[in-house]
Amino acid sequence: MSQDIAIQVKNLSKKYILKHPTKDVDGNTTQELWALNDVSFEIRKGEAVGIIGPNGSGKSTLLKIMSGVTKPTSGSVTIKGKVASILDIGAGFHPELSGRENVFLHGQLLGFSKKEIKDKYHEIIAFSGIERFIEEPVKNYSNGMYLRLAFSILAHLDFDIYLFDEVMSVGDATFTHVSRQKIMKLKSSGKTIVVISHNLNELSLCNQIIEVDLGRIIQNESNQNTLVNYASVAIEKTDIEIHQCPVKIVEFKGQMNSSVLTLLSLTLKQENKEKNSLSTNLPIYIEIEYYKHIKEDTLDLFLIISDANGVVIFVTSPLLSSYDFVQQEVRKYLISCEIPAGFLSSNIYSIGITFVKNSNVSGTFPINEQLNEDQIKEALSVYDIVATYTNLLFFRVTVVLENFIDLGKLNMPVGLILPLLKWKIINQNNDS
């Protein structure tokens, strides 16, 4: 084992005996369950590794073995350094004891001396933000207070290797944020981190992704593609197609008719030669075709681009851009939106559309004149949402750059979008 390897897993297998025999994949009756089946990998010192895979794929068993809680059936794990295994936040807490007592109890359970904990005690309490209640028994704590205290203990004691089992997904937004920051800090200070998670955002912190299913390693890669692949497979399992090349959709799931309009088609276009991928080196066009049924009102739309988790990345609308057509007549409209080259990232995007109508044409916004705040409010108030369509189409884009740098290899997050913005040198003199 070379010097810079922190964790080496060799031919690791773990068998559980079920209480009741079941049929296995091949249809044989068996009472054995191989939670892990001949798994091998290495993790270098200072790496952040994400373990992904569906529920019951053996991820947690892997972490349990690494932390020493359970023994493998065969194979070995070699670990160099002090390990913090956070299989469950606050696992060592006793509900009857006070927060202060639990800090010491938990710290000692994790292998620290009373003195080491005492030295960090004030930092731990300050970070947790529950100084006022530290003498109360933790059974009276709210979930959030409990989590904060437990995480604070782990984050302030000095380990070499951190094993996290889906711990960040349990807290509220603040907790998630704080724990994420802390993990990034640990990572930058050269600690080895292994995270089990379903949250792709969280996993984007990792520079190596190990995908596990049915107790085996499916992929062990170091770039963003693994994550995006994983997300697409997960989405496709729910019978949703992810388009990877130009496509025109005319049939939609659900009701696309309303008294105001009918959505006719949605087209994803790119003028590339191969036509079998969507890449970022050329603009991507989203064309929306619809029929407007009503005469009196104007109709406008918002295009909403979200990521695979449903987080809105950006919203765009002809209303917000330079607006030079009024859609008032009853007829078919075909409008197109250009997403410029060098804007999207290697990721999965979903398209949603919200139509709005404006019953007061004279108040159409924006008007070429300068408006004051009240006038803007008034102009905006005349818009009503008439239809909202979410997840009309999933598509996947690949980054193709002329000066291609693999950000994943540089240990950089790739991000939801990767816009090529304008840069220039303002000062290149030697004097300061």
Binding site: I79, V83, L87, F104
Partner: protein, 273 residues
């Protein structure tokens, strides 16, 4: 311990490695013991007083029925002193058996999430039992004062009596844990050992109450030795019996063997509790 290179394989730790691990984690024995004591008396008014109240009640009942109603006597020792000296040792034994055997179950949440050598758990129960034992010993102060009895110089051997007593409690804990972690039948044996065992141990009756031919059989029960040993060390009651030493070493060796097999099995505990 943590900082070295650690290799996890299917094989259980060797016994010496295991003993080293227990040594490295020894502070946890106190941590668990202190935790349990705090928890035990949390939200109580009498607090630690409850530890003393229980043997006091037992002492009164036994002394009343056997000493007063049945008029049993213990020769040179007043009957309550005789009963109390047996009772404290027996309580220590039964506490270790009950608490030690359920300790793995009780800590299931922790052992499924955090690694430590599992023997730490029964050991910490011994510590708690010891604390309660020491508190109970204070009961002797007013009683001995009342009967004007002084303590024998044999008390220097008292720690050995305690040690013997503790090993007698730990042995069944290890044996039951080895066999009962998958199928829990053996746990149902515990009440038998504790409730009926007292009738095979001279806690509130004396040896001479039984026919002579039974005395050998009685000595097969190590707790008989323990209780006799207690009275000998504290009050020079009865005479030193060589069989105590033999039984002490038999129990000690069995206890170590039990711990060895406990070590062999304990890595599976977290999969079954």
């Amino acid at each position: 311990m943590h900082n070295q290179k650690q290799i996890i394989t299917a094989k259980p730790d060797g016994f010496t490695t295991y003993l080293k691990k227990i040594w490295a984690y020894k502070s946890l024995i106190w941590v668990f013991a202190i935790r349990d004591l705090k928890v035990k008396y949390a939200q109580t008014f009498l607090g630690i007083g409850w530890s003393v109240l229980q043997p006091v009640t037992a002492l009164i009942i036994y002394s009343f029925f056997f000493g007063f109603v049945l008029n049993w006597n213990a020769g040179s020792l007043p009957f309550p002193v005789y009963v109390l000296s047996g009772l404290i040792g027996w309580n220590f034994f039964s506490y270790i058996i009950y608490q030690g055997s359920s300790s793995i179950q009780d800590a299931s949440n922790t052992i499924k999430k955090i690694y430590f050598p599992k023997s730490i758990l029964p050991f910490s129960k011994v510590v708690i039992g010891l604390v309660e034992l020491l508190l109970s010993l204070f009961l002797f102060v007013p009683i001995l004062f009342h009967y004007k009895i002084s303590v024998s110089w044999h008390i220097v051997f008292f720690p050995f009596a305690i040690l013997f007593n503790a090993f007698c409690g730990l042995l069944p804990v290890f044996v039951i844990a080895i066999f009962a972690y998958k199928k829990r039948d053996l746990f149902h044996l515990l009440p038998y050992i504790v409730t009926f065992g007292i009738w095979f141990t001279p806690v509130f009756f004396t040896h001479n109450l039984l026919p002579k031919r039974f005395s050998f059989v009685m000595n097969l029960n190590p707790m008989t030795n323990v209780v006799d040993f207690w009275r000998w060390t504290l009050f020079d009651y009865g005479s030193f019996d060589f069989i105590w030493i033999i039984n002490f070493f038999i129990v000690l060796v069995l206890c170590i063997i039990g711990m060895y097999f406990y070590n062999q099995k304990e890595s599976e505990f977290s999969d079954y509790v």
